[in-house]
């Protein structure tokens, strides 16, 4: 699926004294099979932006296009199946007595037969490495387990675009790495992933393209190298190190991912 936002403006509490223009005309494309990182400081409009991707928020002006078709002309249920949105701290919405019941809830709403529902539940839990706690109560899980259960619930809808809003906040480093590996697996499986994160190091590892929001506007968009080397102060740690080395050794190039950076530094040192 190709998801396009065209000149999206969004005003909270329009017409009241509390009116805030959260998005001021953002145009952006989520290409098929890509990981798009969305970064920007708190309050820059990241969460507001991604809630437009399945029309949970309707733009005040501008439009959202799904494969070139205005998303408003699609059934909302159809749109929300195709664009899965995982909120910040999604575990807050877990409610069923067991994890598998929770994951089954959304696919069951699609009117699938029970066999298909079960197949999807098993599949999603397996992908998230959550099979072992399928029969436990969501409330008896640790933070990382709950997070995976909640993401499994959205994945069971088999979305074409998966939007993750700060999916690793509060997770331990190894669980965070597992989740990043999952994002790459999903891309391999043909799903586009939109990753909203304030952790530039993790965006550097998985994103094909990065967009930087600033005060409700698109500040920069491009490959991680294009975006991060332009402003190396607000960049992942790899880029910050390389930028400093580059001042006297420009031949090092623009590596971003950890392994790339390590290779470039090794080459430079002749090891």
């Amino acid at each position: 699926m190709r998801l396009e936002l065209k000149g999206v403006r969004y005003v909270y509490a329009a017409g009241t004294p509390f009116e805030v223009e959260a998005l001021r005309g953002v145009s952006l494309v989520v290409e098929p099979r890509e990981v798009l990182g969305i970064v920007g400081s708190t309050g820059s409009g990241k969460s507001t932006l991604v809630q437009h991707m399945n029309l949970l928020l309707t733009p005040t002006s501008g439009s959202v296009l799904v494969d070139g078709v205005d998303a408003r002309s699609l059934q909302k249920s159809e749109l929300r199946r195709r664009v899965g949105l995982v909120f910040q701290f999604p575990e807050a919405a877990l409610f069923a007595p067991t994890v598998e019941e929770d994951v089954a809830f959304a696919p069951r709403q699609l009117g699938l037969d029970e066999e298909e529902v079960q197949e999807r539940v098993t599949e999603s839990l397996r992908v998230l490495g959550a099979g072992e706690f399928a029969r436990r109560s969501p409330f008896a899980l640790s933070g990382g387990e709950k997070r995976r259960a909640a993401i499994a619930g959205v994945l069971a809808m088999r979305p074409e675009v998966l939007v993750l809003d700060e999916p690793t906040a509060g997770l331990d480093p190894a669980t965070r790495e597992d989740l990043l590996a999952l994002i790459l697996d999903l891309r391999e499986a043909g799903i586009s992933v939109v990753l909203v994160s304030h952790d530039l190091d993790e965006v550097a590892e998985v994103a094909d393209r990065v967009c930087v929001l600033h005060e409700g506007m698109l500040h920069a968009v491009g490959t991680p190298a294009e975006v991060f080397y332009k402003e190396p102060v607000q960049a992942p740690a790899t880029v910050r190190v390389v930028s400093l080395v580059k001042e006297s050794r420009p031949e090092i190039g623009d590596p971003v991912r950890f392994e790339e950076t390590l290779d470039a530094l090794r080459t430079l040192q002749g090891i």
Binding site: T42, A140, E145, G170, L262
Partner: protein, 286 residues
């Protein structure tokens, strides 16, 4: 040995002591904490890391008396948080993960005063303490701002000011930066660093890079305290890191992979300098 004032002798000189502390949540098969013992001396900065579900948040709740241990003893400035929670909370303040959940009052200054209102502090003194706390976190001029108009980093600093106003000697921080962007994290960590001289700090986090300057790092895994080490030893112990689902931050990880000492080179500046120095000496030698 005659021990007339147990609290003074055994806990009094320590900020926090835990001896053989175990705790299980009702209905849970395995304990959240088993037989955990450690001490915090006044003025120490101690970090706590470990996987999700390792027992970090449970420990925080035992320290401020929200939970009571099944066995073992907890002392905070010589007092038992389970029996004297209100007294203990004057000495030990907790800053939680998400600033959105903690702010309740219409204006910043009311929010900062909130904790004090329950302590029976006279009005004049309260006003002084609130003003001082707001200045201490660099938010002078924000007194009449509405918390909802602040950024995440600013909100977390308001929450921190609310703690400081109570003037506890011990600050417990439970993932205080996990909801903040890079700038907000820098703000909060900067103020913690400034407080280091006068407070005992117990800092729970998933970000090892925040603890590289700590005095000690504790590791909780599956309810057990599995390590209590200096950052230098900790960073060089690959097995310990792996067993506890910890991943070295990017800069020391690069250093290690390049055969440079990770604990000394944890800022981009230090690492870049070491790399350039090595290339330079290599060029000369060749």
């Amino acid at each position: 040995m005659v021990n007339p004032g147990e609290g003074t002798q055994r806990g009094g000189s320590l900020a926090v002591s835990c001896e053989g502390v175990s705790f299980s949540y009702p209905g849970s098969e395995r304990p959240a904490l088993s037989d955990v013992s450690f001490e915090l001396r006044p003025g120490e900065y101690v970090g706590v890391v470990g996987p999700n579900g390792g027992g970090k948040s449970t420990l925080v709740r035992l320290l401020n008396g929200l939970l009571r241990p099944d066995s073992g003893r907890v002392r905070v400035s010589g007092r038992d948080p389970a029996t004297e929670p209100f007294e203990v909370r004057k000495h030990l303040g907790v800053l939680f993960q998400n600033p959105e959940n903690g702010l309740v009052a219409p204006f910043v200054e009311d929010d900062v005063a909130f904790g004090l209102e329950n302590l029976g502090v006279p009005r004049e003194e309260m006003r002084d303490r609130v003003a001082r706390a707001i200045r201490a976190v660099g938010l002078g001029g924000y007194e009449r701002r509405e918390p909802s108009t602040l950024s995440g980093g600013e909100k977390q600093r308001v929450a921190l000011a609310g703690l400081l106003a109570v003037e506890p000697e011990i600050l417990v921080l439970d993932e205080p930066t996990s909801m903040l962007d890079t700038a907000g994290r820098g703000e909060v960590l900067g103020y913690l660093e400034a407080l280091r001289a006068e407070k005992t700090i117990f800092h729970v986090t998933h970000h090892l890079e925040e603890l590289l300057d700590a005095d000690r790092i504790l590791v909780l895994n599956g309810g057990d305290l599995v390590a209590d080490q200096t950052p230098e030893r900790f960073l060089s112990d690959a097995d310990l890191l792996r067993e506890n689902r910890l991943v070295l931050p990017v800069v020391p990880r690069l250093a290690l992979a390049l055969g440079l000492p990770p604990a000394k080179l944890h800022t981009p500046e230090a690492l870049a300098e070491a790399i350039l120095a090595r290339i330079e000496s290599g060029t000369r030698a060749g």
